[in-house]
Symmetry: C2
């Protein structure tokens, strides 16, 4: 039994923010039913990378979900959705604001059929305000949130996070707020409309920059990989790559100095305190790199481990997934999908009482569960379903 077993989610969402949210809910055992446009389906079905004609990206984000087709531009399609809402707990949508209104599938429309409905809307800028209907690609939201301006080097350009965190963080805030609203509904019976904005999620998480802006009257700007206060606390050049060394206090600095066989550094007037080291950061870097550049990353990490100096390699995703730690933790799950074949995937990352909750299900072919779901939930027989299909509703 999963933590969210028995929760039924009607998922009207497409591509990333919404589907990522419902993949987290599905991993905890929720019954997620994708409601897709007949013929075409979720746009992510045609986003690469592909194996044959099938998107691995789609398969990864939609494992363990069911799929029905329903034409929501047709009044009969909307009528079917409203019937399904009676037996559902959660609706998730990430239309551009205004579209749900045109289709007649807003929270206001649907709650008449289910007073306890939890209805999640994810959009770029939220359901209201002057930017509500502005285009909201991840790059645009990252650019406007302040995060790109804060990421990168002082002498380099603003930099996008190398993954669509605008979408993903909004999906995660969505999964959180749905779960909290479900808890509250157990006590009160009341439903909720949740309005999640990608822009606002990214702005809200900039807690360090917010506090610095309050006190200094300006944001700190780009500092590369340096710690805002402590030095040395950065990535340094070793013989065969970069290594992170993280010195947060004087005791650790003394250990680093001893490890480099330069114990006198702790009394050096340029380096004797954290503020001095920060003032003399280029010299500090030169000292460390003249030592590190003659050693491999692996040797430095091994020495640092023995010396009690926090240090770490820079891994790419492949190294992170393949590490002994990830193996022992069972971080990666293999899914044998009938459409795209075998692939590795990292499900939701939380252990629940030692148990890694995740669905081991396959991603659905477009509309593969239409007959089952309409049969089970609405009691429609196959003749009636076929008639709806002929009519273009399914």
């Amino acid at each position: 039994m999963g933590t969210l077993s028995g929760v039924r989610v009607l998922d009207l969402s497409r591509v990333l923010a919404g589907p990522y949210c419902t993949s987290l809910l599905a991993d905890l055992g929720a019954d997620v039913i994708k409601v897709e446009q007949p013929g075409k389906g979720d746009d992510a079905r045609s986003l690469g990378p592909f194996r044959g004609d099938e998107s691995v990206y789609f398969a990864m984000l939609n494992r363990g979900k069911r799929s029905i087709t329903l034409n929501l531009r047709d009044a009969d399609g909307v009528a079917v959705l409203r019937e399904l809402v009676r037996g559902a707990d959660v609706v998730v949508e990430n239309y551009r604001p205004g579209v749900a209104q045109r289709l007649g599938v807003t929270y206001e429309d649907l709650k008449e059929h289910n007073e306890g409905l939890v209805y999640l809307s994810i959009s770029g800028f939220g359901q209201t305000g002057p930017l509500a209907t502005a285009p909201a690609y991840d790059l645009i939201v990252q650019a406007m949130s302040g995060l790109m301006e804060a990421t990168g080097f002082p002498d380099g350009p603003p930099t996008r996070i190398g993954e669509s965190f605008g979408d993903l963080v909004a999906g995660l805030f969505g999964a959180w707020s749905v779960s909290a609203a479900l808890f509250d509904r157990e006590r009160t019976g009341k439903g909720t409309h949740l309005d999640v904005s990608m822009f606002e999620c990214l702005v809200s998480m900039q807690v360090t920059a917010q506090s610095l802006l309050q006190v200094n009257g300006r944001t700190p700007g780009r500092v590369g990989n340096r710690h805002p206060v402590s030095t040395p606390f950065d990535a340094y050049q070793a013989a065969d790559g970069l290594v992170v060394i993280a010195v947060a206090n004087e005791a650790i600095f003394a250990r680093l100095a001893a490890m480099m066989d330069l114990p006198g550094l702790v009394d050096d007037p340029r380096f004797a305190s954290d503020p001095l080291r920060t003032d003399n950061e280029p010299e500090m870097r030169a000292v460390i790199e003249s030592w590190a550049s003659t050693r491999t990353v692996q040797d430095i990490i091994a020495e640092a481990g023995l010396s009690g100096v926090p240090a770490a390699p820079l891994w790419d995703l492949e190294a992170a997934l393949g590490s002994a730690h990830s193996q022992e933790r069972g971080l990666v799950a293999n899914i044998d999908d009938p459409r795209v074949g075998s692939f590795d995937s990292v499900p939701q990352p939380v252990r629940f009482s030692g148990h890694r909750q995740m669905v081991d299900g396959h991603s659905p072919a477009l509309g593969q569960d239409t007959n089952d779901v309409l049969g089970e939930s609405l009691g429609l027989d196959s003749d009636r379903i076929e008639a709806l299909r002929q009519q273009g509703v399914l």
Copy 2:
């Protein structure tokens, strides 16, 4: 009534990941009681930026919480904690794995006093595995997760996200899993131990890179601010700064070409399709920047709005917070804290049925609620409390 009103959280956590998690729970109305070390308290109390002697960073992350002091290195302190657990719903800790065991405050220790307890552990690498006790600063976790290797420009170094997303994302996964576990407890009465790893949270979110690794056998590497597939979809140099232009399909490219007064681009053999434009990205950039560099960002955004071309400015956090959209959405809350004075803060970003849930409370002085909480919850009178204080327990 908040969504989590009536939920009592004992918060043993320090600095960022745990306190960020419980700030989200507090915003939804949970009664969060910080349990702090006598004399010293949460390390974040001594992390800048400061106003006078008080940390604005601490005040922002701990608004609306209460504070008690309790010496958990003393058996009587642990005994008091166990009594408090009887009346609590959630415990949150972010000790280095092993510390809770030494103190006698693990899930196993505490659930004997409350079978329905939801107990959240946040750590760098999780409670088990070879890296469990490795040092876990945000920089280290970002470096090992693969995210730094994926962020930045092809000819530049791996780049840290300019905010502590390793901590913050783990805190958000923590708040999600606590909320889901509370939902499940309402149905089953059962508690849960939640094990959240900063490293695993960041790895799990790299969904695009995971799918590319599966299909191509390697991660895509750093692509700067470019879209992995579509062109032009990047930040471009205008006369007075950078502007994002996001062309996701041929119709939008035709509008961009018309807007630049270069309608012939759509038939140009270098630019006639998205794959061609991606192959000829440097030439595409040169064409766009020779047009954009004679115009201001503001003019380009205005023209793009009229032309139906998605475009956006790069804002810093100050501009994002001050924008008309943020003002109209009520994104920023002003808190008049008795210790640090008035400051602006962005609380949890989700609207619940149109309502911005957040506590308008102040951050607590160290131990300010000790007498109240021990009085209310344990029925201790002021003589007994004073005796415990003399003994060094509080």
